[in-house]
């Protein structure tokens, strides 16, 4: 019902964006709903404070009537917030259940985070992408398809975060975190590590490139070429000593827009 109401008129974004996945849009609407509530309550409280402060300024030495409680009012502002909280919780559950569901799909990407880069492998294919820090490794996925991601870490905790997906998840050592993404628009979306993981945490960049199904198939096929396969495997053996040379020098500019 909220979605219907919201789609009927232009609701402000309150700073967030709709993103490009099916669940990012639900998250966005939930954000807008929470924000409307926050603005209404916030405005009410601010107005009450301002009114009190202006209307009840000290005018003389008079001692005001010493009221100290009003039971019906106190009950009201205990019960109403509890009801609001349950409403917010219900709306949360709807979106949350959608986000944590993992429908069956045959596009699977193993995302491995390590100090300080990302490795993407596609089980059942030969595709492998590897990059450290600002090498910005690119995960290619098909549009309008459920992508099942298996997120792992080789060392410390990292954060897999893509702004355009309105989503992040920790890569925890010793734990397999699984989630599903369904991108609805093609394009290249920037991601980076959001959980402090050591020296080059600021530079653990990656990209997600959403392409058409046919382009995706073609891309997967390129890895069946033995040269490409060997090159990818060699890249994955790069040691961390080489990481230092990959840090951008001072004054370098970005290559990709958002």
């Amino acid at each position: 019902m909220a979605a219907l109401a919201l789609s009927g008129c232009t609701v402000p974004s309150f700073g967030a964006s709709a993103g490009v996945t099916s669940s990012s849009k639900s998250v966005y609407h939930l954000w807008q709903g929470f924000s409307i509530g926050a603005v209404v309550i916030g405005a009410l409280v601010v107005l009450l404070i301002l009114w009190a402060v202006l209307r009840y300024r000290r005018k003389g030495d008079h001692i005001p009537t010493q009221h100290q409680y009003h039971l019906p009012l106190e009950v009201l502002y205990t019960v109403v917030p509890i009801l609001i909280v349950f409403g917010l919780f219900a709306a949360t559950l709807v979106v949350e259940n959608k986000e944590v569901s993992n429908p069956k799909t045959n596009v699977i990407v193993d995302v491995n985070a390590f100090q300080w880069g990302w490795k993407f492998t596609y089980p059942g294919t030969n595709a492998l992408v590897y990059g450290q820090t600002t090498q910005d490794p690119e995960m290619v996925v098909p549009v309008n398809t459920n992508i099942h991601i298996n997120l792992t870490s080789s060392d410390v905790i990292h954060g897999f975060y893509v702004h355009a997906f309105n989503f992040s998840r920790y890569a925890l050592p010793g734990v397999l975190n699984e989630f599903t993404i369904r991108a609805q628009s093609t394009g290249t979306y920037f991601g980076q590590c959001t959980q402090l993981c050591g020296l080059y945490h600021s530079l653990m960049w990656f990209r997600v490139k959403v392409v058409s199904q046919s382009d995706y198939n073609a891309w997967i096929a390129t890895f069946n070429n033995p040269t490409a396969e060997a090159a990818a495997k060699a890249a994955s053996k790069t040691t961390s000593q080489q990481t230092a040379s990959l840090v951008p020098s001072k004054g370098s500019t970005t290559k990709y827009g958002r």
Binding site: G15, A16, S26, L30, W31, F34, A38, V45, I49, A52, V53, Y56, R57, G60, H62, I63, P64, Q66, H67, Q68, Y69, L73, E74, Y77, T78, I82, V85, L88, A91, T92, E96, E99, V100, D155, V156, I157, G159, Y161, H163, N166, F167, S168, R169, Y170, L172, G174, V175, Q192, T194, Q195, L196, L199, H201, S202, P248, K250, G251, S252, T253, T254
Partner: protein
């Protein structure tokens, strides 16, 4: 018939008693010339007087605030350009780790429960001192040495701790963070942790055992009530942090594998332990300031606290709920029970809201006097409202998934802590005269207020937007998104204005030094501390009034204007019963 046993308080035939007039016997009646105690620095080192200890805490905490603030200003300068080179990547990790650690462990906590609480709680309940004065002194020395220990990380090779103020495993283990800086951080927290626990014990015992005659639990001031709940939270939470730190130290040095996968351990266990302490900790920080602000608003509106019992119920609810929400800091781990922590975290907004409406109710139909203390308290209301509302978003896992570890969270908690700073300043302006006997300059105070309040908003608002645009936290560079520079610069302007307000505070203290004597009760305060002299004498009271409500001093000074009881609508009916004084 059972024998009536003595109460469990140890009563000694000693020289500290209350006379028939209520107050101290004439042990000290022959004047100060009889005192041949230690002087100078030896006096400071051996004091057990809660007022001196509390003042030591205050001064040390403000120094920590300045140190933590200096780190913040360096961070802001580094973030002034997308690929700044003021500090190296390694130094930056040390900077934000120590900024957070100094501010939370070494400034906010000790200020909240060791500074003003130490000085004011005994006086508010009519006690001569804290229940365990030597333990109180020990708490201070553990705090000071803990602070020195943590900060000396900067002087060892490898530098200070650099794994964030939360020290997540496995980043904090000896493979990923070798070096003494991390161990000094752990050691410093062991010392300050025990300092806090001992203060919790002391405050609880004092409040339970040393109240003056007639001061029943439901006549205690709201500040004291809040300190009681804070103390219980300290006792429940700090041992968990201490245990976690010991485990971390063992993993680092004794070959245990509690938090490492390789040895069959569980890294996320650190987060459970840390946040089980960490969330009550933020309420340990907040509740004292809630209490201060409650009293200040009441006094400067010339009205009793609105909804006194509701306030106590709200404080107890916040305390109780705060132990059940810790994993909302862990929503993105994927291994915690989302709905449980979501509903509990949403619910904790309800008692906070009750308090907000009670503060408004206190002002309603009052006679509001805009002293600096009151302005600071109002600034607290606005700023905490913003911080509190943004916290509600974070209680919803889907909304947390995309704001976690971004500047949105940084903005949220900075709104809240700037509110606490405003509350703390309110407390200093309000109780400063009671402690020192001198007022602070009101004009400089107003300049300080406006710069602190406006600076806080200018500092935090851009950070909310930056977080929503995707800027992660704990990054030394945002070279990928140079368009974020503008918002970062606006935030920095706010941070500089906050720095200016801190300088103004120091200026005020210097300029007002011993200049404006305050008298016993400059604000027409309601609670018991305003009945005694400013500063209070040794053991706090020469005499005590009769206590028949939660406002004994107000009742004494304004008989006929007691708080209206059930069914009463006007005070004329009260004139018939004057409030007797012993």
């Amino acid at each position: 018939m059972t024998d009536v046993l003595n109460p469990p308080v140890q009563i000694e035939s000693d020289d500290h008693g209350r006379g028939a007039g209520g107050g101290l016997d004439d042990v000290h009646g022959h004047g100060h010339e009889e005192h041949h105690g230690p002087t100078g620095i030896l006096k400071w080192i051996t004091t057990t007087d809660h007022k001196v200890i509390g003042l030591s805490y205050t001064v040390t905490a403000v120094i920590m605030l300045v140190i933590g603030g200096a780190f913040a200003e360096i961070i802001r300068v580094q973030l002034a350009s997308p690929n700044g080179s003021l500090v190296s990547l390694a130094q930056y990790n040390e900077l934000f780790t120590m900024h957070g650690s100094v501010m939370i462990y070494l400034f906010a906590g000790p200020f909240a429960f060791g500074a003003l609480a130490n000085i004011i709680v005994p006086i508010q309940i009519g006690a001569p001192d804290m229940a365990f004065p030597r333990l109180n002194a020990l708490s201070y020395w553990l705090y000071l040495t803990g602070a020195i220990t943590m900060l000396s990380g900067f002087f060892v090779s490898g530098g200070a701790a650099n794994f964030g103020w939360v020290a997540y495993a496995p980043l904090s283990n000896s493979i990923n963070t070798p070096g003494a800086g991390a161990d000094l951080w752990i050691g410093g927290l062991l010392l300050t942790g025990f300092s806090a626990i001992f203060t919790g014990v002391n405050l609880t015992a004092t409040i339970f055992y040393l109240r003056a005659p007639g001061m029943t639990m439901f006549r205690m001031p709201i500040f004291t009530w809040n300190m009681l709940v804070t103390s219980i939270l300290i006792l429940l939470a700090f041992p968990v942090l201490t245990a976690g730190l010991v485990m971390l130290y063992c993993d680092r040095h004794f070959g245990t594998h509690i938090f490492s996968v390789a040895g069959g351990g569980v890294p996320v266990l650190w987060q459970h332990l840390f946040w089980f302490w960490g969330h009550p900790e933020v309420y340990i920080l907040a509740l004292p300031f809630f209490g201060m602000v409650t009293e200040i608003i009441a006094v400067f509106s010339r009205k009793p606290v609105f909804g006194y019992k509701g306030m106590i119920f709200a404080t107890l609810s916040i305390g109780a709920l705060s132990l059940g929400v810790w994993a909302h800091h862990m929503f993105t781990t994927g291994v915690v029970l989302l709905p449980f922590f979501s509903i509990m975290s949403l619910l904790i907004a309800v008692p906070t809201g009750i308090k907000m409406f009670n503060w408004i109710g206190t002002m309603w139909r009052g006679e509001i006097w805009f002293s600096t203390a009151m302005l600071m308290a109002l600034g607290f209301l606005f700023t905490f409202l913003i911080g509190g509302l943004t916290g509600i978003y974070l209680a919803s896992p889907p909304l947390d998934f995309f704001t976690h570890d971004t500047y949105f969270v940084v903005a949220h908690f900075h709104s809240v802590v700037m509110a606490l700073v405003l509350g703390g300043m309110a407390g200093l302006y309000y109780w400063g005269p009671k402690i020192t006997g001198y007022l602070l300059n009101e004009r400089i105070g107003k300049w300080q207020f406006w710069s602190l309040f406006l600076g806080s908003q200018i500092f935090t608002f851009p950070l909310y937007i930056l977080g929503l645009e995707g800027m992660p936290r704990r990054v030394a560079t945002y070279a990928h998104d140079p368009q974020w520079k503008t918002l970062n610069d606006i935030s920095t302007v706010g941070a500089v204005i906050i720095g200016v307000s801190t300088i103004l505070f120091v200026v005020n203290v210097v300029v007002s030094w011993k200049k404006y004597p305050s008298g016993d009760n400059p604000w027409d305060g309601h609670t018991l501390e305003w009945f005694t002299t400013s500063p209070p004498p040794h053991h706090n009271f020469y005499r005590l009034p009769q206590i028949r409500s939660e406002r004994p001093t107000w009742d004494y000074n304004h008989p006929g204007h007691q708080a209206l009881h059930h069914g009463q609508h006007d005070e004329l009916a009260l004139h018939a019963e004057e409030v007797p004084v012993s």
